[in-house]
């Protein structure tokens, strides 16, 4: 919980800088790219996040990567600060929170769409439109598949969950039978 609060604070600080110079979306993209780089280079992430190694060495490694990157100077300084404060290990969480904050600013809602089978593009568009009408926000769909749903889909937008899976319907039917609603 404490770490979460700290990451939110760092995310808000970077967003504040981004809002001042109007480049918060660019900073968000840089953070996302760095997070993806860390995910793809696990050893790099482990080295810069591991406090066993001297901080100068870790900063030198980070600097090497930063030099070759296209990241803005603000983001580079931000990452260097995270390393100094030993918060570089929480970069994924900071990035997620930053995206959430930028989504709120941009009136964007992220919809997690889980389907039993691959969703057709036309259906996806219809669904996004329906969700945008429902939330009055721009919907960014994040698609995934789960065969355990049997059929149908589940949509999660923040705290809102719309469950239209066959599995959920079966569960509902089962509970109704147990309650004796059909006896």
């Amino acid at each position: 919980l404490r770490g979460s609060k700290v990451t939110k604070r760092y995310a808000k600080a970077l967003l504040g800088l981004g809002q001042e110079d109007g480049r918060f979306e660019e900073y968000g993209k840089d953070l996302k790219d760095f997070t993806e780089f860390c995910s793809n280079n696990e050893e790099f992430r482990n080295v810069i996040a591991n406090q066993v190694f001297p901080v100068e060495d870790r900063k030198a490694i980070l600097k090497t990567v930063m030099v070759k990157s296209h990241f803005s100077d603000t983001v580079k300084h931000f990452l260097s600060l995270l390393l100094d404060k030993n918060r570089i290990g929480a970069i994924e969480e900071i990035t997620r929170h930053y995206e959430r904050l930028t989504d709120e600013i941009s009136n964007i809602a992220r919809a997690e769409i889980i389907t039993a089978k691959p969703l057709k593009e036309e259906a996806q568009k219809k669904l996004v439109n329906a969700l945008e009408d429902l939330t009055s926000k721009t919907i960014r769909a994040e698609l995934s598949e789960d065969s355990g749903l049997i059929g149908g889909m589940i949509v999660k937008i923040g705290d809102l969950v719309l469950n239209g899976s066959v599995k959920a319907q079966l569960e509902g039917l089962k509970e109704s039978l147990k309650r004796g609603e059909y006896s």
Partner: protein, 322 residues
């Protein structure tokens, strides 16, 4: 014990010498032997007799019988103790000897004592002596101190009967004088009044005792009455306790019955609940199995068209939410 070791005869009373005037029969029950001898002398204290013996003398517990010479008097079963048994002379040409045995009379009753005195008196008469001697013996028995004094004269007076008679006369007079003085003294001291007073006291005491007896009898009756009342109270209390016990028993039985009913009802309720619970569990298991089976079937049979239809329905429902 040897004969010579026996204690020497020392009778306190004067002896009367008898020569052939009486016979002594000494019977020893333990050995069934009887010695017959001639009485030599006798007093109120003891007797000695001589006898002929060819055996060792037996000094065990014996009984003495005395018989007068003319067989007119017999005195039997006298308690005695042998105090001497001396050999007097040996008869030539044999082991037979003449012996003298001294005996001391044991304790006798008053009657036995009187008969003994009588025997001594009869013996004296038979021996030509005055019967006053027997009376003198009786007086001397009552006053042992006087007898002891007179005992100091020894056998010299046995020869002088006249002197003895005078002595007896003086004693009699002395005794008579004593009786007169005693009677006069008693009269003077008002013994009669004393006795009358004593009688009065005794009567008074008797009356007191009678009244006490009456009081005690009354108390006894009172106690008897209380005892009767106590018995009745006891019966009443027992009855009361019995009735209380019965009531308590009834109460306990009623409580037990109620408790039994409660337990049975509770048990029935628990059974009903358990049955319902079992039914519910069974139902849930059936539903779970049915749902699982349905899920398997749907997983196998659902097609892409079905999925598209479900998606469309879902989108339609989302659209209706707006």
């Amino acid at each position: 014990m040897e004969v010579s070791d026996l204690p020497t005869e020392r009778r306190k009373h004067r002896r009367l010498q008898l020569k052939g005037d009486g016979v002594a029969l000494l019977r020893t029950p333990s050995s069934h032997k009887t010695i017959v001898g001639e009485i030599m002398d006798i007093s109120v204290d003891g007797v000695s007799f001589r006898y002929i013996s060819g055996e060792e003398p037996d000094h065990g517990p014996s009984e003495l019988s005395l018989v007068s010479a003319d067989h007119s008097f017999y005195l039997g079963s006298l308690p005695i103790r042998t105090v001497s048994d001396l050999e007097m002379a040996k008869i030539p040409f044999g082991s037979v000897s003449t012996r003298r045995r001294g005996l001391k009379f044991g304790k006798m009753g008053l009657l036995g004592m009187l008969i003994l005195f009588l025997y001594v008196a009869i013996s004296l008469c038979n021996n030509g002596s005055s019967t006053a001697y027997a009376a003198e013996q009786a007086v001397s028995h009552e006053s042992s101190a006087e007898t002891v004094n007179e005992g100091g004269h020894g056998n010299s007076q046995g020869a002088d009967r006249k002197g003895d008679l005078l002595d007896l006369l003086y004693r009699f007079m002395n005794f008579a004088l004593l009786v007169i003085i005693l009677g006069w003294g008693m009269k003077k001291a008002g013994v009669k009044n004393l006795l009358a007073s004593r009688v009065k006291d005794i009567r008074q005491k008797l009356d007191e005792l009678k009244s006490e007896k009456a009081a005690f009898e009354s108390k006894y009756r009172d106690i008897e009455e209380r005892l009767r009342a106590f018995e009745e109270e006891k019966k009443r209390i027992i009855e009361e306790y019995k009735s209380e016990g019965q009531a308590e028993k009834d109460k306990i039985v009623a409580e037990a019955k109620a408790r039994v009913k409660q337990i049975i009802d509770q048990a029935e309720l628990i059974i009903q609940q358990e049955m319902q619970s079992a039914r519910d569990r069974l139902k849930q298991e059936v539903v779970d199995l049915a749902a699982e089976k349905a899920q398997d079937i749907l997983s196998k049979r659902i097609t892409d068209d079905d999925q598209d239809k479900l998606v469309d329905e879902f989108i339609e429902r989302v659209g209706k939410l707006h």
